[in-house]
């Protein structure tokens, strides 16, 4: 085999391999969601509900937490900043107002403030509010970390669910 023939052969093999690779990449990228090997994931989006007494950030439509694709065992976290705009001390908690009940008993939500757990419960239970409160002096602020997850032992029921949760501040004594 001459050098030119050898080069031609290499060119052919390389070109065919690149062509095949292009198609394989295209098919892999175009794979429909919910196809074989993985069902459609859930997604959770938390938005803060603005309130006159407490300033919240980020403000809607920017989400506090946008989970993206969420499957059993997955978790996503976001931060909500609160600032007391009143002249009085406030004990601030959060109440969840989900857009649907689809993930109520499945998704778990953990809310932490200043290293303290305000809530570690299901989305359903968070409809009643966080058991713990964060105390804010007039003008003071705090960052709350919101962690949403679907426990690894959940087998079904979450598929394709997309839930938007409003986090509404509520006030009281709390612990």
């Amino acid at each position: 085999m001459t050098l030119d023939e050898y080069r031609d052969r290499i060119t052919r093999i390389l070109a065919a391999a690149i062509g095949a690779g292009l198609v394989i990449a295209l098919v892999a990228l175009a794979r429909p969601a919910g196809g074989h090997g993985g069902v459609l994931p859930a997604s959770l989006r938390f938005l803060a509900a603005p309130d006159g007494a407490v300033a919240v950030a980020p403000t809607p439509p920017r989400p506090v937490l946008d989970s993206g694709p969420l499957r059993p065992g997955d978790r996503a976290a976001g931060t909500l900043r609160l600032r007391n705009q009143t002249g009085a001390r406030l004990a601030v908690g959060l109440r969840a107002e989900p857009s649907s009940t689809a993930l109520d008993g499945l998704a778990r939500v953990r809310v932490l403030a200043r290293g303290r757990v305000l809530a570690d419960t299901t989305l359903q239970a968070l409809r009643r509010g966080t058991p713990g409160r964060v105390r804010l002096a007039p003008g003071a602020g705090a960052s709350l970390r919101v962690v949403a997850s679907i426990p690894a032992d959940v087998e079904t029921g979450y598929e394709g669910s997309r839930v938007t949760v409003r986090l509404v501040p509520e006030y009281g004594e709390g612990r």
Partner: protein
């Protein structure tokens, strides 16, 4: 002595392009019809009911599964429950086993209405595994008279052209070839 041909750069570029095309074509066809060899099936999407997940003209490849192995959110292929004989590939909204049958509710991503249909619990449904975008247009075209003629004529012309090119291509001078190998 082995006849060696001199290929300038454009000749090698042409070889590259031709084999790139052949690689794309062969792999796309293999992805579309190859799964038939292992019991899977492939279909061409003829409507936009699953847009944008599956577009018109896409080839979808499905694998047969037991009805209860399907999950909400997956895309399954089934016969039109209204008896038209058409095949639909729509997303599962709910699955409910009831005795010997399994009740499905499905909906195309771009549709506003759902379909309700049943399948025997020991039957099968097709689960969409992957799609080959737009290849269905070419596959459907090959079933038309013009497509059938082209399927025969194009390879025949290519063979003729290759043969004539070999005949007409000037042979390299032996001295040049020897010099090239020194």
């Amino acid at each position: 002595m082995t006849a060696a041909y001199h290929w300038p750069l454009w000749g090698r570029v042409r070889i590259f392009c031709v084999w790139l095309f052949l690689g794309v074509l062969f792999t796309a066809l293999l992805a579309s019809v190859g799964p038939l060899a292992i019991g899977d099936r492939s279909f061409t999407m003829r409507s936009g009911s699953m847009t944008p997940t599956l577009e018109t003209g896409d080839v979808v490849v499905t694998e047969p599964i037991a009805p209860l192995a399907a999950r909400v959110g997956q895309i399954v292929t089934f016969r039109d429950p209204e008896g038209s004989g058409k095949l639909f590939s729509h997303r599962v909204q709910s699955i409910r086993p009831a005795g010997d049958v399994v009740h499905f509710v499905t909906r195309g991503d771009a549709n506003t209405s759902t379909e309700r249909w049943t399948v025997p619990a020991n039957g099968t449904v097709g689960r969409v595994v992957y799609r080959v975008p737009k290849l269905g247009y070419a596959l459907v075209w090959t079933t038309t008279p013009a497509g059938r003629i082209a399927l025969i004529a194009i390879p025949a012309l290519l063979l003729c052209w290759t043969g004539l090119a070999r005949i007409w291509r000037p042979e390299r001078e032996p001295e040049l070839e020897a010099a090239r190998h020194e």
